[in-house]
Amino acid sequence: MSTPERLLLASWLLIATAAQAAGPGLGKPLSAADIAALPRSVFPDGRGLAAGRGTVSDGKVIYDAQCTSCHGIAGRGGSGGHLISDGKLTGADPDPAVNTYWPYATTLWDFTRRAMPMTAPGSLSVDETYAVTAYLLHLSGLIEADGVLDEQSLPKVRMPNRDGFDWIDAKRH
């Protein structure tokens, strides 16, 4: 191969790899304040939970007013599906629900906060979200009727099926 040919090939490779690896670098830096304003991911250990508190009894009031239309009285079922079940995970007719199937209580808080009620997602305050979560965990037999939930106690609630999941296409680290 002649020298100019070599050079040509080298520069072509350079362009090819550059196109593969780099963009024009147009991302704008996010400041700490920008990041704080983004929605938060809520992890099973409680990272990302907003500070607040709610009681089971307040949660029942909120649930009865805002959730029964789609999930039924005490989470027993409606157009949005049931949340609470007496059933099992085995047998002829297994019946997964929040109380029988969900591995983490933090997920219940997070999903309710971002998505429920479906007609007005994001309308529950932080405290209301703790309250309705507390009520559903009470219906699950995991919190007393006079119980309170906050960002410290929620991640400590151990869901019965926490260890019931096997990872298939991902590795635990």
């Binding site: 690896a21 830096p29 996010l30 157009s79 096997d166 296409d169």
Partner: protein, 417 residues
């Protein structure tokens, strides 16, 4: 070669037959029920000036039965699915307007100019990207399928549901997606060596959030801006969605607005309560990302009618989230004997592949099946084998062999065989 050499007892002919000779076709497979042709079509189009131009073309009004089938929640109109009419389509590209939908709380209306993609968490440089900026990045295209993890879920039922093929298996569609390799954006942000996962989040009314392993994100994921050459449709994630080749549809997050690099998955509702599969022993499979090898006959299929004996082309689709389709075999006798179908190129990895095989119908009852094998050697299982292994409560990841029964009247129905 005489025709006897090429025909199996079940009437399946050599897959090269149509190519070799100009065999005469039976009257085309009729769609049942047939659609009345609009009254205002001129009897002689060569004697009447045609229609004017249009800014955006539409299908012929005579094809108005080719639609997505919607099954939505009765209390929340934007919660549900719509199915691709695979039984009415040909080739491997799904028209964008017929790509299946799964929305949890409707199609958000998003101002593309105001939309931002934020990349933060375990990165050296948290960054925000506008759509205009992403358009300037190197673009890549790939043709591939997106399949909902819940596709074909009615086939777990005890009795086979009677509906069109696409309304059983059409939570799968295939497009050319174009956009920015995700790895470029991740490199620009500088991923911390401790990061293992991405948490992807959407700007929809459910705040869809899903965790994706970093290795996959780097390998082949695309920040898609275009589908089949045009900007994404709103229901496909306008202005930005992620394409995760071969993995379950729910990871292909639409309306993507935030990527957080983390050490572990976030354990969102849609990766714990849903998109996990309860097994007979009470344990659940989680992070079952790859869509396994699958195929079905799209024509003839339920709703089609064979109106006379004779030669038909059996046509279908095969795909695998693990790679390319290597082989598709077709049976006309409920799996007793199989013949290889012709694969129509291009045969692309993690993409729909069209298969075809001629079949001579002798007017007797028959059961049509297809069985796909991918280039990792994975074989599409029978329904009995799949149910024996996984039970019937898993709901997601159904990929068993599909059976259509042909009656002596030429009608097709869905059976378990």
């Amino acid at each position: 070669m005489s025709e006897g050499d090429e025909t199996s007892a079940s009437g399946l002919l050599d897959r090269r037959l149509f190519l070799r000779r100009g065999l005469r076709w039976s009257a085309a497979i009729a769609a049942a029920p047939s659609i009345a042709i609009a009254a205002d079509i001129p009897s002689d189009p060569t004697r009447t000036p045609g229609q004017p131009f249009s800014n955006y073309g539409q299908p012929s009004p005579q094809e108005k039965a080719t639609i997505r089938w919607i099954s939505a929640n009765r209390a929340v109109a934007g919660n549900g699915v719509s199915w691709t009419p695979l039984h009415d389509l040909e080739g491997i590209i799904t028209p964008s307007g017929l790509h299946f939908e799964r929305h949890h709380n409707g199609v958000p209306q998003i101002d593309a100019e105001a939309h931002r993609l934020s990349v933060h968490g375990l990165v050296q440089r948290p960054l925000s990207f506008t759509i205009e900026a992403l358009k300037r990045y190197p673009q890549r295209s790939r043709i591939g399928f997106v399949e909902c993890g819940g596709n074909s879920n009615s086939s777990w039922n005890l009795e086979p549901l009677q509906t069109r093929a696409g309304y059983l298996h059409g939570l799968a569609s295939n497009s050319e997606w174009t956009g920015v390799p995700l790895s470029i954006v991740l490199d620009e942000a500088g991923v911390d060596p401790a990061a293992r996962w991405l948490v992807l989040e959407a700007s929809d009314a459910i705040g869809m959030n899903m965790s994706l392993p970093l290795a996959k994100a780097r390998k082949d994921c695309l920040l898609a801006l275009y589908q089949n050459g045009e900007r994404l449709r709103p229901e496909q994630g306008y202005p930005l969605r992620l394409i995760v080749p071969g993995w379950e549809g729910v990871l292909n997050v639409k309306w993507l607005s935030r990527i957080e690099l983390t050490t572990e998955p976030v354990m969102s509702r849609n990766e714990t309560s849903r998109y996990t599969e309860l097994q007979p022993d009470g344990r659940a499979r989680q992070f079952t990302f790859v869509m396994d090898v699958k195929s079905l006959i799209t024509s003839p299929s339920p709703g089609h009618l064979l109106n006379e004996k004779g030669l038909y082309e059996i046509r279908g689709l095969a795909w695998s989230g693990r790679g390319k389709i290597k082989r598709v075999e077709v049976s006309a006798d409920a799996g007793k004997t199989w013949k290889p179908a012709a694969l129509q190129g291009p045969v692309l990895p993690m993409s729909f592949t069209r298969f075809r095989i001629p079949w001579r119908w002798d007017g007797a009852a028959a059961t049509l099946q297809s069985r796909a094998v991918d280039d990792t050697g994975a074989v599409q299982p029978t329904r009995a084998a799949l149910v024996a292994k996984r039970g019937r409560a898993g709901y997601f990841h159904y990929n068993a062999i599909v059976s259509w029964q042909v009656s002596e009247d030429g009608e097709l129905s869905h059976v378990y065989a």
